[in-house]
């Protein structure tokens, strides 16, 4: 079983805060981490490999520094990693990103299963998984909360829906996006860390992948961000004061008013 896991480098959100004077986002430290949802995808891939044998490849599109996160993935059970990195990938929206990732999957060749996190915590779009599946012409299932059985041809999984779940039988090759908590991602082991230092790592450019220049990066992105702004609060909070009994009463009065 050849499994690719898509990994995104995201800013560590604990370090995002607003500058109250300029109303802009300040990101001190510039520390990047692996998108938390992707860690569950990686763990699931490694568990499947442990069960069926095969290979797990960590895949990302990003700046050269993303190598650190890909090597981290190889310390947690991935065998090798592939980074798609090129100046011309910059500014990609989900369509251009999923096209680029599809070139990476094709480059790997013979991938049976692609696992992605449900979404990235910086963009929250949850679009890359389904768009990547479409670019590859593969079936996909989003929001997988459990994999009940898997062999070389099929996977039986449970998909979380808004009001319950579906049990699905999916023919491979296919792409699944996973929710948090479908497993407990392992920590890097010492042998894992030692392995990761020399684990096979490749970086490919747009030219290496024969990417269509009109479909990558900013030029390949149908959407454009035209404006970002800090949402203005319409009102300041009304401060309630008094002893606890009075406050409790006030709160219950508000309750009667709004319900």
């Amino acid at each position: 079983m050849k499994i690719a896991v898509c990994i995104k480098q995201v800013p560590s959100t604990n370090e995002v805060h607003m500058d109250p004077v300029t109303n802009t986002i300040i990101r001190d430290g510039k520390q990047s981490v692996t998108n938390p949802f992707d860690t569950y995808a990686l763990e699931q891939a490694v568990q499947i490999k442990d069960h069926l044998g095969g290979e797990v490849i960590a895949l990302s599109m990003g700046i050269p520094a993303t190598e650190r996160l890909l090597r981290d993935a190889t310390s947690r059970g991935a065998d090798r990693s592939l980074l798609l990195s090129d100046r011309s990938f910059a500014g990609a929206d989900t369509l251009a990103t999923s096209y680029t990732l599809s070139l990476g999957i094709r480059e790997l060749g013979g991938v049976d299963l692609i696992l992605c996190g449900k979404m990235a915590v910086d963009g929250d779009t949850a679009q890359i998984g389904p768009e990547l599946a479409e670019q590859l012409g593969l079936p996909h299932v989003t929001d997988v909360l459990a994999i009940d059985a898997i062999d070389e041809q099929t996977v039986l999984c449970r998909k979380a829906t808004d009001n319950g779940y579906q049990r699905l039988k999916v023919t491979l090759p296919a792409l699944l996006t996973v929710v948090k908590d479908l497993n407990m991602p392992r920590m890097s082991s010492l042998p894992g860390i030692l392995y990761s230092l020399d684990s096979p790592f490749e970086s490919k450019t747009a030219a290496d992948l024969s990417a269509d220049p009109a479909r990558i990066g900013l030029n390949g992105s149908p959407t454009q961000v035209v404006r970002t702004y800090v949402p203005q609060r319409i009102r300041e909070a009304i401060v309630l004061e008094g002893d606890e009994s009075q406050l409790a009463e006030d709160l219950l009065n508000i309750y009667s008013e709004v319900i």
Binding site: N14, V16, H17, D19, T22, T24, I25, R27, K30, R87, G91, D93, L95, V121, G123, D124, T125, A126, Q127, G129, P130, A133, Q135, H140, D143, L156, T161, G164, Q166, R167, L168, K169, A174, D181, G217, L218, N219, S221, P222, T223, Q224, V225, V226, R227, T228, Y229, V230, R233, A237, I238, V239, E244, L247, A248, E249, L251, L252, I254, V258, I259
Partner: protein, 411 residues
């Protein structure tokens, strides 16, 4: 040449952009900003510059003829033959957008035996319903829907296509967008038509709601977005409103091709009052002090007819379950009333509560970030407030009766 451009005449070297850049791609040299190759063109610096000295240059896309695309479509998602609330919300917003554009509003109703629901879409604002009935549309299997959408888009060319940001909507919309090679904006909370260029301005929260981003799709059609449920207003039912119901055929799938995703079982959880659709949420964070105080939170929720929500730390330490977690990695909520006890308000938590109509925050720390989003601020001991509210409610005659009754049952 595509890339970030710093306009030397406007840049004063203030360095605000350097602070904003997450990629470490900007620096000040000789009192001017310079960009290096770490730039990922995320655009964050553009709005940070008070002098409008930064822009992103994009190679002009070959102009396609977009004039054939007309009308606004909304997908009226149904489950078990019942149209979801978010569909009526989309009709509410869609009416407004259609009026601005002077075009028709079309609702798409797909399923098995759903025709009797079509009229309700019309009285809630649809000028036209595209109705497709087929046994394969009975269950929400993506691939059975995607070809149908794709075929209709190609035949009828809508200018705008909106989906509810439900689990199903967020699964099929990206596939449809990728097949049409057009743009898609996720989970929008504000939509309007630009008065100058007629484009759909699609605004959504980013960075856990701390920032709003307005996104357009200028050169590709349809302009597609998923829209967060519970945000747009449903317009009043108008029995006099008329519209046409147009049946469309479902192209039977190639019989030789076996379905790659097969539904074995559909489990609908018994309707429990989940936090995602609760009207009243009583929410607790670490500030409640100890696990036993969770009982107070539960009791208050029960007395007020609400449900319990918690911040992530309480789930992490095992005081509550994941399904109660509110925030970016938990549930997004939009109750009429949210009362928070001892929640300080991490960015990730605030991201989940921006849809709440009224927020009362109780916390001992007057500087807690939760107060920046609250409508009512109470700086006090959470446990005391909880106890007093419970005592107050229990003393009310209607609840007294309940207590008496339950005592009777117990004895």
């Amino acid at each position: 040449m595509t890339g970030l451009k710093i306009h030397q005449d406007k840049c004063v070297g203030c360095g605000l952009c350097v602070k904003t850049c997450a990629a470490d791609a900007l620096a000040i040299q000789n009192k001017k900003a310079v960009v290096n190759e770490a730039c990922i063109l995320c655009g964050m610096c553009l709005d940070s510059c008070p002098f409008k000295a930064i822009s992103i240059e994009k190679q002009a896309a070959p102009k396609e003829d977009l004039s054939a695309y007309h009308g606004i479509w909304i997908y009226a998602e149904q489950q078990q033959g019942k149209i979801l609330q978010v569909a009526y919300e989309l009709l509410g917003k869609g009416q407004e957008l259609a009026k601005q554009k002077g075009c028709k509003l079309t609702a798409l109703l797909f399923g098995n035996d759903v025709a009797n629901e079509a009229q309700s879409l019309i009285v809630y604002g649809a000028d036209e319903v595209l109705l497709c009935e087929h046994p394969l549309l009975d269950t929400q299997i993506d691939e059975n829907y995607i070809d149908l959408f794709d075929q209709l888009i190609q035949e009828r060319k809508p200018e705008i296509l909106l989906f509810g940001a439900t689990g199903f909507g967020r699964s099929i919309a990206p596939r449809i967008a990728a097949r049409r090679q057009t743009g898609l904006t996720a989970d929008c909370t504000i939509l309007d038509i630009d008065s100058e260029n007629g484009l759909l301005n699609q605004t959504r929260p980013a960075f856990g709601g701390n920032l709003m981003a307005t996104i357009i799709c200028p050169n590709h059609r349809p302009q597609m977005a998923t829209v967060r449920p519970g945000i747009m207003q449903v317009q009043p039912c108008d029995e006099a409103h008329t519209g046409e119901i147009i049946r469309v055929d479902y192209a039977d799938p190639d019989a030789s091709k076996t379905a790659s995703v097969e539904l074995l079982e559909q489990v609908i959880a018994a309707h429990v009052n989940t936090i995602a659709d609760a009207d009243i949420i009583i929410s607790a964070g670490k500030g409640i002090g100890s696990q036993k105080n969770m009982e107070l939170v539960k009791r208050l929720a029960e007395l007020m007819g609400g449900v319990v929500g918690v911040s992530r730390p309480l789930v992490d330490i095992g005081w509550s379950e994941y399904q109660n977690q509110v925030g970016q990695t938990g549930s997004t909520v939009s109750p009429k009333l949210l009362i928070t006890f001892g929640i300080s308000g991490a960015i990730q938590h605030l991201a989940g509560i921006s849809g709440a109509k009224t927020i009362i925050a109780v916390n001992t720390d007057p500087e807690a970030p939760i107060f920046s989003v609250a409508h009512y601020k109470v700086v006090a001991d959470c446990v005391e407030i909880l106890k007093h509210m419970i005592a107050n409610l229990e003393a009310r005659p209607e609840n007294g009766l309940l207590i008496e009754e339950s005592k009777d049952k117990l004895s």
